[in-house]
Point group: D2
Chain length 114, copies 4
Amino acid sequence: MHNSQYKPIIEALVACAAECEHCATACLQEEDVKMMVRCIQLDRDCSAICRTTADALARDSDNAKVFLEACATICAACGEECEKHAAHMDHCRACAEACRRCEEACRSLAGLIY
Amino acid sequence: MHNSQYKPIIEALVACAAECEHCATACLQEEDVKMMVRCIQLDRDCSAICRTTADALARDSDNAKVFLEACATICAACGEECEKHAAHMDHCRACAEACRRCEEACRSLAGLIY
Amino acid sequence: MHNSQYKPIIEALVACAAECEHCATACLQEEDVKMMVRCIQLDRDCSAICRTTADALARDSDNAKVFLEACATICAACGEECEKHAAHMDHCRACAEACRRCEEACRSLAGLIY
Amino acid sequence: MHNSQYKPIIEALVACAAECEHCATACLQEEDVKMMVRCIQLDRDCSAICRTTADALARDSDNAKVFLEACATICAACGEECEKHAAHMDHCRACAEACRRCEEACRSLAGLIY
């Protein structure tokens, strides 16, 4: 049954979406917001595609591979940007980790779909 | 910190969204799809508002109460419909439970916001 | 047929969502981003609920009134904040207008639903 | 200014999302719903990615190309399925047309982004 098979990756996706939404908000509270603009923009993209991909898996979509590959690409970009600020900002470190975990989960599952 | 405070309800919201997406798909596989049309329609509504509300909480939205109250109302409607089919269909039983849990979580949190 | 009946309001909703996404991005480019934080946060909420409400109308949702009322409330809050910056920022002026138009359209239609 | 440049494609995207939501609902009203299951499933995917892509363009996303290519692929699949029912069902004909127009717009714009 798909629901149990997809459960861990759906969890990685929704965890990543939540970290991205939170990271964007926390970035807006930083003293130097200008430095965080690219991070905020990528957070917005990443949250949207993670959430959309989670829904697609939950509905057992025939387009799962398309969603997963787009999601992995965007998670990688967001994770890379957050990583740059990870040493000084907890929200970016948590977000970078969630992005990496989500990217890997997406790539693994996409690789299993013909 | 809001992230830890909101964590359980965000989990209830995303779990409910996933159950609703899955329930709609499973309803489409039932022999008598006609009987499930209202359930599918409510699943679509409920998934959308749960996901939107989860994002709003994760971003620490000032409109949290508005999202939560709309979400509770729609979870109640969806849970009530799924309940009717719960005796014969696992996906509706699981969805009804997720809706009830989510509705309660939304109402509790909404009640704490002035 | 619902599609033609709802067409103008769906247009107001998706126009408002697009203006909000654009306004948030444009606010991040402003010199004094700190002053725009509340605007960006409300833009994110407003875009999400407008898009969710547009989908709900397009699917002829039984919960249309719930979505419309939540949407009107959030459009009002976003429009009010954007209005404060409208004299100096084109994106806020355009967004404030889109929010007002959308709020009115939502309230009108919600009033027609028992 | 991006807003005017992207306006026609955002319109194609939100029009396609609305047709897909409407088509799924109308399919559920058809006598032989079983025959429409694949169409409904693809409508759900297509609505989600169109809406997500519209938001991404409106926010001037650096990942625009990723969203556009995923969107074009899913629009093509949905349009192909709707086309099969276009002779007998107005909602599928309208949806197939919206998908084709949206697919083309996505491919054109994706081709312009390095």
